[in-house]
């Protein structure tokens, strides 16, 4: 039961974005202004400072879900502002 690859990524691949706080490098993609996809790897997860803080607190808080790294979210916003990370919806609008 091999899992297929996501055809949407072939049309518009994910782009590396580094976090301005810890330097963790993730892959990001925005299909629209409202939507963000982030793919981490083990190295990025280990580097993330907010994640480490969340893990320290996890034993004391609920089921220990780490919802998001705010520094990384900020870095992704910056990448969009600077034009390094294109938004699929907007790009399609421009090219068609």
């Amino acid at each position: 039961m091999a899992v297929r690859s996501d055809n949407r990524l072939a049309d518009f691949p994910m782009v590396p974005v580094a976090c301005s706080r810890c330097g963790a490098c993730v892959l990001a993609r925005k299909s629209s202004w409202n939507q963000t996809t982030v793919q981490w790897n083990a190295e990025a997860s280990a580097a993330c400072l907010e994640r480490r803080d969340a893990q320290d607190l996890a034993a004391h808080s609920g089921r220990g879900l780490f919802l998001a790294c705010s520094a990384l979210s900020g870095s992704i916003h910056d990448a969009v502002r600077s034009g390094d990370l294109a938004v699929v919806d907007e790009s399609v609008r421009v090219t068609t």
Binding site: W33, G62, L65, G83
Partner: protein
């Protein structure tokens, strides 16, 4: 440019896997298994026998006696063991034959199949692993505080058989749109996080003014944090925000496979009692919300019963179905073959509350400036 002849897109699907997922599965409420009688459970393509022995432990064994194939679920619990109805052979929770009443010696080396069990928060769990390794501690099912507290109601529990492969219900984790169409909520913030053996769906929703609310006062919205801990057991911290008060609930959504093409779907609810919801009112709320959830699942089931299995869904910009299935695949391969991309953290977020218009103007200005400066 489109090609001159549009190709017909084919739905592709391999047969559902013959292997069953590695992980903790909830068989149901302990109260339904713990009465000292043997219970037959059809799961993982087999017939199992579940019984609580005199020592208080709940055991799960293969349902058929290794002697002559008698059905142990038709037998009787004697002491700590299950006795076969055919020749009274006694089997212990460790899978060993403890006694053959008419023989001086029992075949002590022979073992039947057993499953590790766990009783927790009113539920009975079983660890399934085709490789027969013990459950890793980091995959333990988290405790649910309310489940053992007088401040919460008891479980209000539903069980139903669904005749399709269980991947269909897993797909719901990423299917934001169906919450609008089937479950009557209006998501404003939706996020999936897959990491390790946990797949989470975080959702803030607003009440749908166009449809009836599950309650008497006005429903402002819901906050839901729902995580699958392993392949089959989801805990949903689900709070209903009403005009006058918040109702805190825990919704369990779990299943176990009967075989490759059917599964037992179970869901249960507990509701926190409060000044706004004292004892009886909390129970009524649990029943009311349970029926509301039941309605949603029945609509899901109606879809699943008639839909085609599809390995190559045609997706626009919507939920991460492929990435969810990549996560789910970790439970269907040997532990040594779990790949980093199956367990690495993945996030998919949709936030319709951010002020896009203003933000867009800034971006366009920046890009224009960049272009004017000749840097693009």
């Amino acid at each position: 440019m489109q090609s001159e002849i549009d190709e017909i897109r084919q739905i592709e699907a391999e047969a559902a896997p013959a292997r069953f997922a590695r992980g903790w599965h909830c068989l149901g409420l302990t109260r339904d298994f713990g009465d000292g009688k043997p219970h037959a459970v059809h799961a993982f393509g087999q017939k199992l026998v579940v019984f609580r022995g005199g020592d208080g432990r709940i055991n799960v064994l293969d349902g058929y006696c290794r002697h002559m194939g008698g059905d142990l679920s038709q037998g009787e619990v004697k002491g700590d063991e299950i006795a076969c109805p055919f020749h009274d052979w006694r089997w212990g929770g460790d899978g060993r034959c403890k006694k053959v009443p008419y023989s001086k010696r029992a075949p002590r080396l022979a073992r039947t199949a057993t499953w590790t069990t766990l009783e927790q928060d009113g539920m009975l769990f079983l660890w399934n692993d085709p490789e027969r390794n013990p459950p890793p501690p980091e995959q333990a099912i988290p405790r649910i505080e309310g489940a053992t507290s007088d401040e919460w109601t008891d479980w209000h529990w539903y069980t139903t058989v669904v005749n399709t492969n269980c991947r269909e219900i897993i797909d719901n984790v990423v299917d934001m749109a169906h919450f609008f169409y089937i479950h009557g909520s209006l998501p404003t913030h939706f996020k999936n996080i897959f990491e390790g053996h946990v797949a989470t769906q975080y959702m803030n929703g607003e009440g749908r003014p166009d449809i009836g609310d599950p309650g008497e006062s006005k429903l402002l919205g819901t906050t839901s944090v729902a995580s699958y801990f392993g392949p089959s057991f989801m805990i949903d911290d689900l709070t209903y925000h009403y005009e006058d008060a918040d109702h805190k609930t825990i919704l369990i959504n779990c299943h176990y496979p009967i075989d490759a093409n059917s599964f037992v779907l179970q869901y249960g609810i507990i509701v926190k009692k409060s000044d706004a919801l004292p004892g009886d009112a909390a129970l009524q709320t649990a029943i009311g919300l349970g029926d509301f959830v039941k309605m949603g699942f029945e609509q899901d089931v109606e879809i699943w019963k008639n839909k085609a299995r599809i390995d190559n869904p045609l997706l626009c910009e919507e939920g991460p179905v492929y990435q969810l299935r990549r996560w789910y695949q970790q439970f269907y391969v040997d532990a040594a073959d779990v790949q980093p991309d199956m367990t690495d953290r993945f996030e998919y977020e949709l936030d319709t509350t951010s002020p896009n218009e203003e933000w867009m103007k800034v971006v366009e200005a920046n890009l224009a400036a960049k272009s004017a400066a000749g840097t693009t």
